[in-house]
Amino acid sequence: MEATIEVSGLRKRYGRTTALDGMTFRVRPGRVTGFVGPNGAGKSTTMRVVLGLDAPDEGHALVGGRPYRSLRRPLTHVGALLDVGALQPGRSGRDHLLWLAHSQGLGARRVDELLDLVGLAPAARRRAGGYSLGMRGRLGIAAALLGDPPVLMLDEPFNGLDPEGIVWIRGFLRSLAAEGRAVLVSSHLMSELQDTAGHLVVAGRGRVVADVGVDELIATASRARVTVRTAASPEAARALAGAGATVTVGERDTLVVSGPPAEDVVRLLGACGVPFSEVSAYRATLEEAYLDLTGGFSGVVR
């Protein structure tokens, strides 16, 4: 099966609320695609439509070229993590994976492999009701990977995780994408996708606002600005502004300069005798790039 997700012209209304308003995008294999946007942008609804849980009023969604509900042994095609809390509290984590495995014609051995892989083996035979949010997240990832699927969809997998868990999932997602899988990860916090997503689908009010590569997005947002680190920032700012540059004050002892290229900045500061410790090309954070991108879009700014 081709490792793709295609979403095309999805529309869906719940009563008077429009949840999806022509949502269209395509997720390609080999990279992590971040699906971002504020709460209520239609990310979860889109995922549920892709997974055949909700029916769209219009449009269609295909996984590997086929509607989800036509898949035999669907977990071998698509792995999904929707809600880490969707567990029977009285059933052990291992048994939760076991019934899922049995539904796909898989056995207990595959379950134990995954428990080792996600590091849940020691707690596997305990009641899932007693699991921490982090353990539930690991169990959810294990469930998604059970059928070794080429396509993965994770809805807000970082929610409630401790920093260690977040780092773990990021690394995990990168390596899964590196294996050639298509990985779609939704999040309402850009910072969570930093260094993880290679591509972004930005949703707002039920449609796609931007569908863009992360490198391209950051390059655009960075806009050839220069970072200056100096202990004498007032003097530096005065000198640079005097030469016609636009200066904003950044984090501790830094100035962000737009206008002159880095060589001109070094020359100017040297000429004015202002000491500095570093001059470098400015690199916007993913969050900044995202805000930059969606700044004009009232539905996204929070």
Binding site: R48, L51, G52, G85, A86, Q88, R91, D95, W99
Partner: protein, 503 residues
């Protein structure tokens, strides 16, 4: 696909300890309440001041408990032969409820199933094979044999000519208004009938069953003594070995403490005219305990099964597990069916050992306590045992269907109990008029309880055939089919709703 879904649902069911414990408890409830019922059943009988073992009813050739009480005036017959007689009149007396307490209130009259006529019987032992043609109080001429078999002749009463002819194992009964024009009422085949049999005249009169409404709206019945005196003449007996004298047998008469017979029959022969007085009946015994009484725990087990299976279904919705389930098996109708099938099969597997073991154990305990349980054929016992386990299984299917439909445990459990348990309790608790009870057990899922009825209604035996007495308005499998229909419809609705709605 479906096999995988079944396996997954079974894994789900067996991995929640509470559910398995519930199923085990339902099984133990059937056994435990059955044994408790048996241990609590006692009967003691006395002969005057002396306690004696309670008599057990006689058994017919096929092992059925029967009532075999009548007055028999007979001769011996070797091989083929026959008897002809004319029943000229039937009179009798009926004891009514005492108008003044302690003062017998007896009126003259003949009960509808009082019988007088002619009979071939293998011996004078109770339960021995027989065939008879007779005139009844209000049901015309009948040909009956082996206690359960009854064929109607003409509707007229006495006077009436009757003729019985034996050819090998075949007995033919005929009737005539005048002794010249004969019509066949019926033939009976008494397999293995001995060469030498008894042939003669008989009279019997079953108890007068009266059903009274109780103040709550239900009814109770009471049976009171009656006897019939039949006058017969034109008696001729044909065949080898019939030349002896008439012997008189008050078949099945009980002896009082003083050693005298209780309600004795009588025979007065005056020239060619015979007057026979008899009481009792020649009929299957329906008054003793039944195997299904040992399965009373099923009602409580049913409530437990419903609770477990409703939870099994609604657990999907309590924490959004249904989405995971539908991701694993997106063809939703099949998922609903797989869940229901697993629920039914697991319930059946837990219930069957209990329903199989409880009746024989209870029967043994009751026998030790002097209580007789009506024996039934192997097929009937298997039907009751398997049927009651299947009743629980289908209830489990219904509970799963309602759980998937309502999505909330309390609502689904209330619906299932209201559909299954409430009508059954109302119908059998003797608080509703009989006809209302019967309709409840025809129309509601509680009709399925009919599968446990081991003793059928007999049209030719008067009795209070009401749900309160364990008689269901539908035949066992028909009642069970009603329950199945409800389960199938509910499951269909649940599947339809699952398919149509977002999860």
């Amino acid at each position: 696909m479906t096999a995988r879904l079944l396996r997954a649902e079974w894994t789900k069911l067996r991995t929640v300890r509470g559910w398995m414990a519930g199923l085990a408890a339902s099984s133990l409830l059937v056994l435990g309440l059955g044994l408790l019922f048996a241990a609590g059943g006692h009967s003691s009988c006395s002969q005057g001041p002396v306690e004696v073992p309670c008599p057990t009813p006689p058994l017919s050739r096929d092992g059925r408990a029967v009532e075999d009480r009548f007055f028999f005036v007979s001769r011996s017959l070797d091989g083929d032969g026959g008897i002809t007689a004319r029943v000229t009149a039937m009179n009798g007396q009926i004891r009514l409820p005492d108008a003044t307490p302690g003062v017998r209130n007896v009126v003259s009259g003949v009960v509808p199933w009082a019988k007088a006529g002619i009979m071939v019987k293998e011996s004078t032992k109770q339960g021995a094979a027989y065939a008879a043609v007779m005139v009844t109080g209000a049901h015309g001429v009948r040909m009956q044999h082996d206690f359960t078999e009854d064929v109607a002749g003409s509707a007229g009463g006495a006077p009436r000519w009757l003729r019985l002819t034996r050819t090998g194992e075949t007995i033919t009964g005929e009737e005539s208004p005048d002794g010249r024009r004969w019509t066949t009422v019926g033939t009976a085949r008494l397999t293995g009938l001995a060469h030498r049999v008894r042939i003669g005249l008989f009279a019997a009169s079953p108890g007068d069953v009266r059903v009274v409404r109780n103040p709550l709206g239900g009814s109770a019945s009471a049976s009171r003594f009656t006897e019939v005196t039949a006058t017969m003449d034109e008696v001729t007996v044909r065949g080898a070995g019939t030349g002896g004298t008439w012997s008189r047998d008050d078949i099945g008469v009980e002896l009082g403490p003083d050693g005298n017979p209780h309600h004795p029959g009588a025979f007065v022969g005056n020239g060619g005219t015979f007057a026979l007085t008899g009481t009792g009946d020649i009929a299957p015994d329906t008054s003793n305990g039944r195997i299904e009484h040992a399965l009373t725990g099923v009602l409580i087990a049913l409530v437990v099964v419903v609770a477990v299976m409703v939870s099994f279904a609604t657990a999907e919705y309590r924490r959004g597990l249904i989405r995971t389930t539908l991701l694993a098996g997106p063809r939703r109708g099949r998922m609903a069916v797989a869940k229901a099938v697993v629920a039914g099969a697991a319930t059946f597997a837990f219930a069957l050992p209990a329903t199989a073991v409880t009746p024989p154990l209870a029967r043994g305990i009751l026998r030790g306590n002097g209580v007789f349980t009506l024996p039934v054929g192997t097929l009937t016992e298997v039907r009751v045992v398997v049927g009651v386990a299947a009743l629980l299984a289908v209830a489990a299917v219904l509970a799963v269907a309602l759980g998937l439909l309502f999505r909330r445990g309390a609502a689904a459990a209330v619906a299932a109990i209201t559909a299954l348990v409430v009508p059954y309790v109302l119908a059998t608790a003797s608080i509703l008029p009989d006809e209302v009870s019967r309709w409840l057990l025809r129309l509601t899922p509680a009709a399925g309880f009919a599968v446990q009825q081991s003793i059928p209604e007999y049209a030719h035996v008067i009795g209070h055939y009401a749900p309160a007495a364990g008689y269901f308005p539908l035949p066992p499998w028909a009642g069970f089919a009603v329950l199945c229909a409800y389960a199938v419809v509910a499951l269909g609705l649940a599947a339809y709703r699952l398919e149509r709605r977002d999860a």
